[in-house]
Symmetry: C2
Subunit: 482 residues, 2 copies
């Protein structure tokens, strides 16, 4: 997942207050509970999704938008969904084509440095960054801990490399607030380069956004503001950010930095769309989805291989059970969630006259932890209607509903902003930011049992939303946040 | 630490049986307990050792034998010990000079591979490895799980790259048996290349020896047998070893492997020796030591910056307290523990006529975990004599004695084999092999409080051994194991 879906930290507080079980009156059962239980139990006995995840990660690997691997993933996933008996189409989408180059950083001057010794740092270029000169650049290092400190020390930032040494708060993540921890640290990843550039810096670095201590740099998307020069930007491993900060606290530090990424012309890519047609109202759709692209450092097993294959697995399961709901269940394997949202935009544009026919949208993009329930961007009065879903998932320990007043799932945000109720599974996220956007996001991080539980959660929810006689109430339309 | 000190797994069982508190009769107090308590408390109020560790890691960084950094470390540590008021000398030692080069591996053919896609693996060349051809080599991959399986599949190993996919057993490490876990996995690191070469392989790989899951390859020394061709060898990250094994289980896998290390002529280096002369028997010495060299991937904070600076801190503390024991306390900062033992050999050679004057030897080389007590290679009847030490350390939770019948501490093994009682602090090692020999062995892994406790442990032990009226009984001489 990337930044945009996470909203402001304050939203997490209101979400938290609504995490408690909802004690509203039960509606009459609109969907047979025995069918929901059958779907759940069948999911817990199927490894189809894990096999698809294994194909995606082990046979293809990293799937950054614009890469040959991303296109191979489109082909592979379309074939798998076709084999499952779904109606598959490819939806064209323009996507950025950014390619990582060399990346190296050394501390070449610092207090107490013995003659001839330099310190080599571990780092990763942030997605979308421009390059340094081919031979790199050498500049003094300014370490700051906030945007305010940067403003206060703007004179020192001129012609310097600015390092935002802001730690990810794993204590928050350990307490179920991984998203809040992410939001408060990732602001520097997204906005740091332009803030530093406005102060006259020649490059900008962040401390990696992540909670583990294995010297792994975390990549991710960044944004250049129109009013600032574009300067190269990268994430240091937390260890190397701490090293640089310790040395800078003792005196002047000079860094040599080389980053040679390339931004190529936008590429043609696709969302993969696969329908299980509704038996009664085939024009009304419930989307169940995840994103097919990943960052380029690893297999993208938790971000978002697990999510996209769980969504695929939910539809495959219903098809294999010969369960056709009232409405169409539509799998979308989104392209380009990580660095541009090209797939999301293309879908919205193609469907802007059919928004009212979208009954609900689900995206899974929070990893592969054990499902605990649902995040639901629904009206307050909708919660009671979800009771059959939570009852079906209670035996899996996945009955919590965390109602939100903001979009969940980056790719389905435009649809929610247009009024479509939105869902994302609520997953154990304590270790998600150990691996997120690093080289260690690999298949072994996904426990097959957790993936079965995720398929169960998505399948029960999608079937219920597609089967209930009247769809959930629409959301009040809201503008996209900037 | 490296392999040689760890002996055979069976030794861990006998050590385990002796971990319980020893209930022997107390000898009369040979050394004033109040002085030992004073030493302990002073250590818990000093950050001198942590400052030295910070200097060593942050100002110099990796210190592989033969490198400019290793020589800078000799100069820095000698100056620090001189400033502490000790009598410092440098002892010449010849050391290997091996330099890491490029390292890359890709799976270029495997079942289900889409056209044009290859999988890039993360790996690190093992210390001492020869190089592949400059352009690398391409060969079929044979995955085996034991030496026996290699023998059974010898025909497939011919002209292949052999991967020993043997996992480190973190369950053992979690149960206080990190050493046993290391021994059973590291055998493949040390002996794998020659075993594979005898079967006709063109290169040899292991699954990294370590217990974490952050796609970090662990380096370490390997050994070429005289009767086998020298073939290049490296450690894959655990994740990539698992990936290769999963694909190989489905069909034929071909790998491209490029490793370009160089072995240069042996270099001149030094042990740093610093004496706090005895007040009564200055010719008799108690060594307190750690090793100054490290692997080249990281700062070597836990292996063995923490050990060597704790040993330095113990002597500095006694000097600062104006405590001169009966015998000389000698700090040794060993060079070349990791890949050759050149410093250990040089010391033994220079002192082979003064072995009887070595009353006891201590080396700390198990990281920076909380001290729990002592590992003691002493005679059974010596244990009771250590009672004042364990009583002084009891309030720190470091009163356990694990008696061993094999050498502790690689550098001090020759002295123990010649009869000198040997000690190593017993440290919490549950996370040691998460970081050992990886890029993540950095200063942040060392908690200042644990380092104070380690200094307290070493200072109390060294002072006691140097002060007791009669030295501990000698060990029965034994031959070095092969």
């Amino acid at each position: 997942m990337n930044l945009s879906r996470l909203g402001k930290p304050a939203a997490f507080l209101s979400a938290l207050l609504l995490t408690m079980p909802v004690l509203a009156a039960e509606p009459p059962p609109a969907v047979d509970p025995a069918v929901l239980a059958r779907v759940r139990d069948a999911a817990m006995n199927s490894d189809w999704a894990y096999q698809r995840l294994s194909d995606l990660t082990d046979r293809i690997g990293p799937r950054l938008s614009g890469s040959p691997q991303a296109e191979a993933a489109v082909v592979q996933v379309a074939a798998a969904l076709r084999s499952a008996g779904l109606q598959v189409s490819l939806q064209p989408a323009k996507v950025p084509h950014w390619v990582r180059g060399e990346e190296a950083a050394e501390l070449v001057e610092y207090p107490g440095r013995p003659d001839g010794i330099v310190q080599h740092l571990r780092l990763t270029t942030l997605g979308g960054s421009v390059a340094t000169p081919k031979a790199g650049l050498t500049a003094p290092l300014l370490v700051v801990h906030s945007f305010d400190e940067l403003k206060a020390r703007a004179a020192e930032a001129k012609n310097a490399i600015v390092l935002f040494d802001v730690a990810f708060d794993q204590d928050l993540a350990d307490n179920g607030l991984a998203g809040a921890a992410y939001v408060q640290a990732v602001e520097y990843r997204v906005k740091g380069a332009s803030a530093a550039a406005r102060a006259g810096a020649v490059a900008s670095l962040i401390r990696s956004v992540g909670g583990a201590d294995f010297r792994l740099p975390h990549t991710g998307v960044m944004h250049y503001d129109a009013d600032a020069p574009k300067i190269p930007t990268a994430a240091l491993s937390a260890e190397d950010a701490m090293l640089a900060a310790r040395l800078a606290a003792q005196g002047a530090v000079t860094m040599h930095l080389k980053l040679t990424p390339q931004t190529l012309p936008d590429a043609d890519s696709h969302n993969v769309i696969a329908d299980l047609p509704g038996r009664d109202k085939p024009d009304e759709v419930v989307i169940v989805s995840g994103h097919l692209d990943s960052w380029d450092l690893a297999q993208g097993a938790i971000d978002d291989g697990a999510g996209v294959t769980s969504a695929m697995g939910a539809a495959q399961l219903l098809k294999s059970l010969d369960l056709r709901a009232r409405r169409t269940i539509r799998v979308v394997a989104w392209m380009n969630e990580e660095n541009g949202g090209g797939g999301s935009k293309a879908y919205f544009e193609a469907n802007k006259d059919r928004l009212v026919q979208h009954a609900a949208v689900i995206e899974s993009d929070s990893g592969a932890g054990k499902p605990l329930g649902l995040q639901a961007n629904v009206t307050l009065e909708s919660v009671a209607a979800l009771h059959p879903v939570t009852e079906a998932l209670r035996s899996l320990g996945a009955a919590a509903i965390e109602r939100r007043d903001e979009a969940v799932g980056a790719d389905i945000e435009p649809l929610q902003n247009a009024g479509v109720p939105g869902f994302e599974p609520l997953l154990d996220g304590r270790s998600y930011f150990f691996y997120h956007h690093t080289a260690a996001d690999t298949l072994d991080k996904v426990k097959p049992d957790n993936l079965r539980r995720q398929v169960a959660t998505l399948a029960v929810l999608a079937y219920y939303l597609a089967e209930m006689p009247e769809p959930l109430p629409r959301l009040p339309p809201r503008k996209e946040e900037n």
